[in-house]
């Protein structure tokens, strides 16, 4: 089996279109995961015991089951219940919901890691709830959240090929369609692997740099 550049040239245009879909799906999915995750984190930290427990278990149910099955669920089951989604929308919603359970933990940990003394200090300074959050808690909580949130964007980017299972023609799906029609697997599959390496390795190093930049500074308060 020899590498053929002709096949590469043949498959590249459709893979390029697929790459655009992959990037779109990852970005929209990540945005959804960030927003839903924040909501979920607030629900999990609720003072109301029932709300906190319920949201915790819902998030565990999502977290402990495979994304692929959840995508099938959105794609095959919802139309039977009268809700029609395009494959792309179903995929992005699936990605967003699945990873919101991960991002919610990032938000929760970020807020809970702010030393207790900081809350007490803002109380002592007679800050109201808004001032406490805006000027004391969030400035300390947000920087450590950034690297893990960036890492989940990379993870989601690598999970997008699953969307091909529900007929979204993204990078991997495009290569797979080409392979199935021409029976040429070597070049398309290798190219997909290369594309992912070329994007995720630099992205991972960028995330590592972020981590160093946002290393929690020793405030002396604990």
């Amino acid at each position: 089996m020899d590498w053929s550049w002709e096949v590469v040239l043949e498959v590249l245009p459709s893979m390029w279109l697929g790459l655009i879909v992959t990037v779109q799906a990852a970005l929209v999915g990540a945005l959804l995961a960030y927003v839903l995750g924040l909501l979920l984190a607030l629900l999990k930290m609720s003072k109301n015991w029932i709300v906190a427990k319920t949201s915790y278990w819902i998030s565990e149910c999502v977290r402990r089951t495979p994304l692929l099955v959840q995508l099938y669920f959105l794609f095959y089951v919802l139309p039977d219940l009268g809700i029609f989604l395009s494959p792309f929308a179903a995929g992005v919603i699936g990605l967003g919901i699945h990873f919101s359970t991960y991002t919610s933990e990032v938000y929760r940990a970020g807020i809970e890691n702010v030393p207790k003394g900081q809350w007490e200090a803002s109380r002592a300074l007679n800050y109201n709830a808004y001032q406490t959050m805006r000027f004391v808690i969030l400035p300390q909580a947000i920087p450590p959240m950034i690297p893990p949130l960036a890492n989940y964007l990379i993870t989601m980017f690598k999970e997008t090929p699953l969307l091909s299972a529900i007929t979204v023609v993204e990078l991997f799906g495009a290569a797979n369609i080409f392979s199935n029609t021409t029976y040429k697997f070597l070049e398309p599959m290798t190219l997909v692997g290369l594309f992912f390496l070329l994007t995720s390795v630099p992205a991972a190093y960028a995330a590592m740099r972020l981590e160093q930049r946002f290393k929690p500074k020793n405030t002396g308060a604990s």
Binding site: V69, F73, K158, E159, P161, S164, S179, F196, L197
Partner: protein, 233 residues
């Protein structure tokens, strides 16, 4: 009452006919998870320890492995193993390809867990082992690894769940696991909600057992943890 009965008759009568393949799928999923977990565990330690090697070449190979399997998608690796390697003359049965792909993929994440856990062991412990003139084998075997294991377990537990979820992807390379069986039921009965709901519950049960298992292991290894000096992770 009658409508409830009718619903069960219409929508759940498939379960009588199809429950054997669901059980079979569950067994395949569990086998795939356990076999690749074992493979991933071995790889994690081998690669994680290689990162501390004195030989530059060993360290470089470990990093290349890590970046390759962490940097590409698991599904791509699976398809590569199942469709491309046979063209190069290397043929695996689907189940073996699935185990290899899942194990190699999770092994890359696991190796980082091993490495960072070893780094988290207090510096004094490294120095003490050197002061006692321990060989590097003794240093890792008797001083560093025993202290690093309690740090590894929670993260390994999370990775085990990730691994279980990854096995669902193996259905795409014709391994007849739970997800594959649900697709068969869907295509033969045109039912959607019921089969997928059943397998979601199955996955939830299996991963909850794994979570429980991790908690037990955590407690078991936590004994004597207070003797560790140095910052944990």
């Amino acid at each position: 009452m009658e409508t409830v009965f009718k619903y069960f008759q219409d929508s759940w009568s498939w379960s009588l006919e199809y429950y054997p393949i669901l059980i079979q799928g569950t067994i395949t999923t569990i086998e795939l998870t356990l076999a690749s977990a074992l493979l991933a565990l071995i790889i994690s330690f081998v690669v994680g320890l290689s990162r501390f090697s004195r030989l530059r070449l060993v360290r470089v190979i470990a990093v290349i492995y890590l970046e390759f399997f962490r940097g590409t998608s698991a599904i791509v690796q699976m398809f590569f193993m199942f469709y491309v390697l046979p063209l190069l003359g290397i043929t695996f049965p689907p189940l073996v390809a699935g185990i290899l792909a899942c194990g190699l993929n999770l092994g890359s994440y696991g190796s980082e867990v091993v490495r960072s856990a070893l780094l988290s062991v207090g510096r004094g412990q490294h120095e003490a082992a050197l002061a006692l003139n321990y060989s590097s084998y003794q240093r890792f075997r008797y001083v560093l690894i025993p202290q690093a294991i309690p740090v590894m377990i929670p993260t390994f537990g999370n990775l085990l769940i990730e691994l279980l979820k990854l096995t669902a992807v193996a259905s795409l390379i014709t391994i007849s696991d739970l997800t594959f069986m649900a697709q068969i039921i869907r295509s033969q009965t045109a039912l959607t909600l019921e089969p997928f709901f059943v397998i979601l519950v199955m996955y939830f049960i299996i991963s909850s057992v794994l979570v429980w298992f991790t908690k037990v292991a955590e407690r078991k290894f936590a004994k004597g943890r207070d003797t560790i000096s140095g910052e944990g992770v």
